[in-house]
């Protein structure tokens, strides 16, 4: 790439832009203010001819910064795809003409809007570079699979079929995991009527026969260093022998830990031998091997059995699980059939509050249970009384009365706890929330942590395992990006990710294997994973300026940054999602991307023309998340919803990337209002970078001080949580801000 920066600005007159705006003036703005070396207008820029015109300038005139003043950066991306140049879009269609009324009296402010966007795009161009590779790339097709249950085995078989060699690391002496302990499994095929064989042996045999799959039994991963494309895993056998292997990506299928039924004394577990968990019943059924199931206390053939659903689950009581494990209703139906299929006269009663049988065949299986004579009693079990036969005391919710029944055997449907290892490093969490330190020392928030063994043993500064999300499960973005964790290149499958049964875990494993393959390839190209898929830029820092404060390593939601001995950050490109949260975190502003930096945005807001205070034309800076808020604004424009001509919108990668200097600079240069739009944060976060918007909200709470020192009203800066569907809300928010400014008056900082 030529060293000399050369901006080419291209102004489109199609889609009504030419009718509504003075393209000639835009062109002179681009050359005069934007310092574009070349500026051309076109009637239909995105057509073949228009694109050729731009390409010719790149080829013959040395244009390497392309400014396109046309539609939104989200439109026509295939047409405007040029190699080895940076791309900047002035959004004249969705950002200007579609949100402003077509009337003569509005013409002036509409044109001002467009001129500003052209200036801003040129300013961004001036401070951007074409991303170059970091040199960290290298394709490694080997996939590491942690856990040898049905999930891990399926992942290995699928990845191997696709041509990717796999290694399974299994802690125990055999493959099969929890499913190997089951007598039968919930049916997976029509008519979904009877329990079926688990098929563990078939899976194990397929693995045995596959030269592409290596199995390490009695082994664990004792250290995993590196990043996608270059993970180095220490695989240690029980004997202590350790070997280090290289992998491109990782699937974590470490399954679940059964809930400890000893925490349920009310159900006489541990006291009465004939109160068992579902897993224990599987052992009894296996032992019976098709014959009558005998109860543990005296070996008597069971003639009556009650299944207690949601035992210690779906409850906020201390020591109980809050979540629904999702498989246990179907599992109880299956187990009741163990009895019914052997002897239809055995009384089998399932006591449930809500029967949940997810999956394609769930309802059929439920009906099949009913047909076989399994009784379903909607009730809450309060107590199991110990005795020669356990007595179940419950409230019948349909008949609304207390009742009890004495039976031979009671089975507790206790749930699953994700086997997801350790939480994020506790000391980091404390550092992360210095402000909360006081609350902690007061004792209220002090949680006594039981030391859990790590599963992955990641050599990441941010902790040894993938971060836990709700209830300890490790999925970071359930709806949009399943399998994805907060550690790029490490994908969870099965009950580590969310509660599920064997069949779902196997389906899950296929998905996770696919993602792992994708990331192994991606990392080799130096490309970002979603949501900035394909982005070639990556963060770097100016060492001379760095104060080793460690903010970036703490706040990176993806654990991408390690530390060297001196405490300087060490970036791992392929772990990074390019969100820019580190950039927003850095107090001395030394972190940047080639095409996104404190300057690329900072110079845009400085490029906005600020009219004199007495012109009564305020300016509102809108920093909008490119994932949700910016598309919502585009869609508002498509719906021809109008908003104030005083707003200037700059897309940001994530609210987390916002540098406080942008706020102070905007205020100092005379902006009257600043609006920050990011995704919802908190428990039900929608942030595409998990923690970015939440981190930003916290940082913005400190903006108040800045406003105070400048003696400015606090209403001038506001943060909003915007979902992509808030199409009608966003224009209204902008208009409300315009009204607020009208009330409190113009900013005095206009020079």
């Amino acid at each position: 790439m030529a060293d000399e920066m050369k901006i080419g600005a291209y102004i489109c007159k199609g889609c009504g832009i030419g009718d509504r705006l003075d393209a000639g003036q835009l062109a002179s703005t681009a050359t005069r203010d934007g310092k574009a070396a070349i500026c051309q207008q076109h009637d239909f820029l995105c057509n073949e001819e228009g694109v050729k015109m731009i390409q010719a300038d790149i080829d013959n005139e040395g244009v390497n910064r392309v400014v396109i003043a046309a539609c939104s950066r989200r439109a026509k991306t295939e047409a405007f795809a040029f190699d080895n140049v940076t791309m900047h879009r002035a959004n004249l269609r969705e950002g200007v003409i579609w949100v402003r009324p077509d009337s003569d009296d509005q013409q002036e402010t509409t044109q001002e809007m467009a001129d500003d966007y052209v200036r801003m795009a040129c300013a961004e161009a001036k401070y951007s570079k074409v991303p170059e590779t970091s040199g960290q790339q290298g394709v490694n097709k080997n996939i590491l699979i942690v856990g040898g249950g049905v999930g891990g085995m399926t992942a290995a078989i699928e990845a191997s079929k696709a041509g990717y060699p796999c290694s399974i690391v299994e802690k125990t002496a055999a493959l099969g995991g929890a499913v190997a302990q089951l007598h039968k499994v919930i049916p997976t095929k029509a008519p979904f009527a009877d329990p079926q064989d688990a098929g563990v042996d078939e899976l194990a045999a397929a693995i045995e026969a596959d030269d592409n799959i290596t199995v390490y039994l009695n082994s664990t991963t004792t250290n995993i260093a590196g990043a996608p494309g270059r993970f180095a895993a220490d695989i240690s056998a029980e004997s202590g022998a350790t070997q280090t292997k290289e992998f491109g990506a990782i699937v974590q299928a470490s399954g679940f830990i059964p809930y400890d039924a000893n925490k349920l004394p009310e159900f006489a577990y541990g006291k009465n031998k004939d109160v068992v968990t579902q897993l224990e019943l599987e052992a009894l059924a296996k032992a019976a091997n098709g014959g009558a199931i005998k109860r543990p206390s005296d070996g008597k053939e069971v003639t009556s059995v009650v299944f207690v659903q949601c035992a210690g689950q779906r409850s906020k009581k201390e020591g109980h699980l809050e979540h629904c494990s999702g498989y246990c209703c179907s599992a109880s139906i299956k187990q009741a059939m163990y009895f019914k299929d052997q002897n239809a006269d055995v009384d089998t009663t399932i006591m449930y509050t809500d029967l949940r049988t997810p999956g394609a065949g769930g309802e059929n299986f439920y009906r099949s249970g009913q047909k076989k004579g399994v009784t379903f009693t909607k009730s809450v079990v309060n107590e199991v009384v110990d005795g020669a036969n356990p007595t179940v005391k419950f409230k019948d919710l349909i008949l609304n009365e207390e009742a009890e029944v004495e039976v031979d055997l009671v089975v507790l449907a206790t749930g699953m706890i994700p086997n997801s290892g350790q939480e994020t490093r506790a000391d980091l969490a404390v550092e992360d929330a210095e402000d909360k330190a006081e609350a902690k020392s007061s004792g209220e928030e002090q949680v006594i942590r039981v030391e859990v063994e790590s599963i992955l043993n990641l050599d990441y500064r941010q902790g040894k395992d993938v971060p836990h999300m709700a209830n300890g499960f490790a999925d970071s973005h359930f709806i949009c990006f399943p399998y994805e964790t907060q550690r790029t290149g490490i994908y969870t499958a099965g009950p580590t990710r969310r509660p599920m049964d064997a069949k779902q875990a196997m389906d899950d494993a296929m998905g996770a294997a696919m993602r792992a393959i994708g990331e192994a390839e991606n990392a080799g190209l130096g490309k970002a994973a979603h949501p900035r898929s394909g982005d070639l830029s990556f963060p770097s820092f100016r060492k001379e300026g760095c104060t080793q404060c460690k903010r970036c390593t703490v706040e990176c939601p993806f654990g991408a940054i390690n530390e060297d001995e001196e405490g300087y950050p060490v970036y791992n490109e392929s772990r990074c999602r390019r969100c820019g949260t580190c950039m927003g975190a850095c107090p001395v502003r030394v972190i940047s991307f080639e095409n996104y930096s404190v300057d690329t945005v900072g110079q845009q807001l400085k490029a906005v023309d600020i009219p004199e205070e007495f012109d009564e034309k305020p300016r509102i800076m809108v920093l909008a998340c490119e994932n949700d808020a910016y598309p919502a604004l585009d869609m508002a424009a498509q719906n021809k919803l109008e908003y104030s001509a005083f707003a200037r919108v700059i897309p940001v990668r994530c609210l987390g990337s916002i540098s406080l200097s942008w706020i102070t600079d905007s205020l100092n240069s005379g902006f009257d209002g600043i609006m920050l739009m990011g995704c919802p944060s908190g428990d039900d976060y929608q942030c595409h970078f998990v923690k970015g918007s939440g981190t930003a909200q916290e940082r913005m709470s400190k903006v108040g001080d800045t406003l105070e020192t400048l003696s400015l009203e606090k209403e001038r800066v506001a943060t909003y949580e915007i979902s992509i569907t808030d199409i009608h809300k966003v224009p209204k928010l902008i208009n409300d801000m315009a009204d607020t400014i009208e009330q409190i008056g113009m900013s005095p900082f206009k020079f």
Binding site: K371, T375, V405
Partner: protein, 207 residues
């Protein structure tokens, strides 16, 4: 176990099995998923001590006595709302009638329940000649609660009676014998035989 005094253990399947064996469409009871749609759909549901959903749960809970002596299933007007709406497609109306019928045969049906009483009158009336004698049936209904209220009722429905006569739907001559099937005696024999078979089956149940 004697069929009309049987006691069953609660929350065991005995009574459900009894219902399955003896009640028309009783096989379906176990398929109810307790959604409550039938209870909400029944136009008379408010007046029932136990709407269909509850009756089914009571059967599964082994509440034999309460179910069979209940007047709830006698309240069913055969409107079929519930059948149309039940997501599990239970023939609820038929089960209600089946239960009523079974309770009646066991002698457990509530005596004063008007539907139960009228059904008996209808049956007796019909069995005589193999055809219903509308006039006698109507009068016995009006005079159900004694002479005074009977006369009042008759006067109230006088116009309806006249219209029916005009339309030849009812004949005053019915009072003296009335119409019937060709050989009422044979019909009675057939019914008697059917009852014998049914009783034998009932007797054998539970043995």
């Amino acid at each position: 176990m004697s069929t009309n005094t049987g006691t069953v253990e609660k929350y065991r399947n005995n009574f459900l099995k009894e219902v399955e064996a003896n009640v028309e469409e009783g096989d379906w009871v176990k398929m109810c998923m307790q959604c409550g749609v039938c209870a909400g759909s029944c136009p008379l549901g408010k007046h029932w001590a136990h709407p269909p959903q509850e009756i089914f749960m009571m059967i599964r809970a082994g509440k034999r006595e309460e179910v069979l002596t209940s007047d709830s299933m006698w309240m069913c007007t055969s409107c079929y709302n519930c059948i149309v709406r039940c997501p599990r497609e239970l023939p609820i109306t038929h089960i209600m009638h089946g239960l009523a019928n079974y309770a009646k045969r066991l002698g457990l049906a509530p005596k004063a329940q008007p539907t139960a009483w009228f059904s008996q009158v209808f049956w007796d009336n019909m069995m005589k000649k193999g055809r219903v004698n509308e006039l006698k049936l109507g009068l016995s209904l009006y005079f159900k609660d004694g002479i005074v209220s009977g006369i009042k009722e008759s006067i109230k429905h006088q116009k309806l009676g006249m219209n029916m006569m005009k339309a030849k739907r009812m004949s005053p001559m019915e009072l003296f014998g009335g119409h019937g099937v060709k050989s009422a005696g044979d019909l009675q024999k057939i019914i008697k035989k059917a009852q014998e078979i049914e009783n034998a089956r009932l007797e054998s149940y539970g043995k």
